[in-house]
Symmetry: C2
Subunit: 309 residues, 2 copies
């Protein structure tokens, strides 16, 4: 199997867009077809509804986008049955031709980090089968290395949190140490590790080690594109969190490569937004497709992602 | 139900020790009675073995210690069946009279953090039913507050990573910003949030919001006891990671309260250590009990935890 980075580049080129659809099922926002008749849902009810909803979303977006990003929290929230549903959703998405970036923000000390990496990372070679995983950096280099090693062995990817999209992200990430913010220290470590794992023979300038940088900080995003020369950027915060197409322009290189832009609620629950009210709850699927196509078009119009076409 | 902090204080007083037993099952180290006849274990095989092993450990330690700390990674490593085993282990431990601190080091942006908190925190009031959870601080205040709010509503506890026990923890945690290390900034935020959630009527000086500070940094541990006046300290790194009883003395207050000291491998797999070789693999349970009692005695001899007796 080619490396995660090569597979991601190929999928973006084929679909001609860097849109990443976040699979964040939320019970209270599901179209009523998935929740009707269930007043006090058990974990099993929720698991069934999330599995069906996510499969339906995957069917719509699989021809349009390169990858999906299931959010582990929304499944873990409802216990073991819902974790099993997550497991099925990952495989279903892969069978429909999508890459799967699992958003778990996991980490721990070295030998425990190795257990997360072994369990989560690797399509068909790990129990959870993710193509890539998000990882938190607070525990430092010896907590990050086991993920990178396992990813390299299994042609999987890792995205390390650098500058997160939430307002509170700045509290510790923006503290200035040695003249630069903490997130810059993290970014420099990530870039150095990415460069070390790049194959010198590859035409692909990006490693399978990437970084999470929020769309809500456009200036820092463009700076991070410079610092993280060898890294894919996973950019959350588009749509419901306030980021727009022009805000993420700085994430891309001149070819329109180098970044994937995530949208979760803005696509999954588009039927609730005024722009897509014409579809109504009955045609929530039409709203998902329209919102996905609109985001693809907006990125093509406002960023170098338009050059993919 | 009393607050997590009150329940923890009571359990420590009853058992007369602050020893926390980490439930870190590792397939390759399990006594052979749990693995015999299984050459290539499936997730189901591992889940069954982990459930049986952890229940056996719980039966031994329940009369001796106040709490256990299951490590989510070792269960997640083997997929959904093993996650179901974790779910059962938490309940089994609670039924045997133990508090359960789930070591997940979870976190995400606010609304997603709320999903983790809703799912994991709260004995009998959440799907996973943990009495407390470890949480990572990199995403900042608006990612931490949902855990604290849910914990306060459900009489649960939260332990935020401040200074972790692994050598690499220093890479980002020890960066100096505004004249003090990043972990000190995190500690001051945690202390401030803990003080705000303390009940003024309570005789208990500790909130249900605590901090993780490693036994491997004795000097910083004593400093953190001063900074985190209103917080329980969860201290990993004792035993296999190199921390000894005298190294954790600074974690306690004058009454022997204020901290729980974790030991995972040093207790679970004591039968593999030279000191307990006399038990052999057949009496691995005897080794677990001896190692637990030895740790209780060492803390009583070398720290103010002796005053609990």
């Amino acid at each position: 199997m080619p490396s995660f980075s090569d597979r991601l580049a190929l999928a973006i080129a084929e679909k001609k867009t860097p849109v990443l659809v976040g699979l964040d099922p939320r019970w209270a926002q599901l179209p009523c077809v998935f929740t009707q008749g269930v007043s006090e849902p058990t974990g099993f009810d929720v698991a069934e509804a999330y599995a069906q909803f996510c499969r339906a979303v995957i069917d719509i977006v699989a021809p349009l986008v390169p990858a999906v990003k299931p959010q582990a929290a929304f499944f873990e929230q409802f216990g073991p049955d819902a974790m099993r549903a997550l497991h099925g959703v990952i495989r279903y998405a892969q069978n429909q031709g999508l890459l799967v970036i699992l958003d778990g923000k996991r980490n721990d000390i070295g030998s425990t980090a190795a257990a997360y990496a072994a369990g989560l990372l690797g399509r068909g070679t790990s129990p959870w089968s993710a193509d890539a995983l998000t990882v938190s950096p607070y525990l430092g280099d010896d907590s990050l290395e086991p993920f990178i090693e396992t990813a390299n062995k299994r042609e999987a990817g890792v995205f390390i949190l650098v500058k997160t999209s939430n307002p509170g992200g700045k509290l510790f990430q923006d503290l200035i140490a040695d003249g630069k913010p903490v997130y810059q220290h993290v970014a420099e470590w990530v870039e150095s590790a990415a460069r070390a794992s790049l194959s010198p023979r590859s035409a692909n300038p990006y490693a399978s080690l990437g970084a999470v940088v929020g769309a809500t900080w456009p200036k820092q995003l463009a700076e991070m594109r410079q610092t993280l020369k060898s890294c894919w950027l996973l950019v959350p915060g588009y749509g419901s969190q306030g980021g727009a197409a022009k805000d993420v322009a700085g994430a891309f290189d001149q070819r329109g490569m180098g970044a994937v832009i995530n949208n979760s609620r803005g696509i999954l629950f588009a039927y609730k937004k005024p722009e897509y009210a014409r579809f109504g709850e009955k045609d929530w699927e039409g709203a998902v497709e329209a919102a996905t196509r609109d985001m693809i078009d907006a990125l093509a119009a406002e960023t170098t992602a338009g050059r993919l076409r």
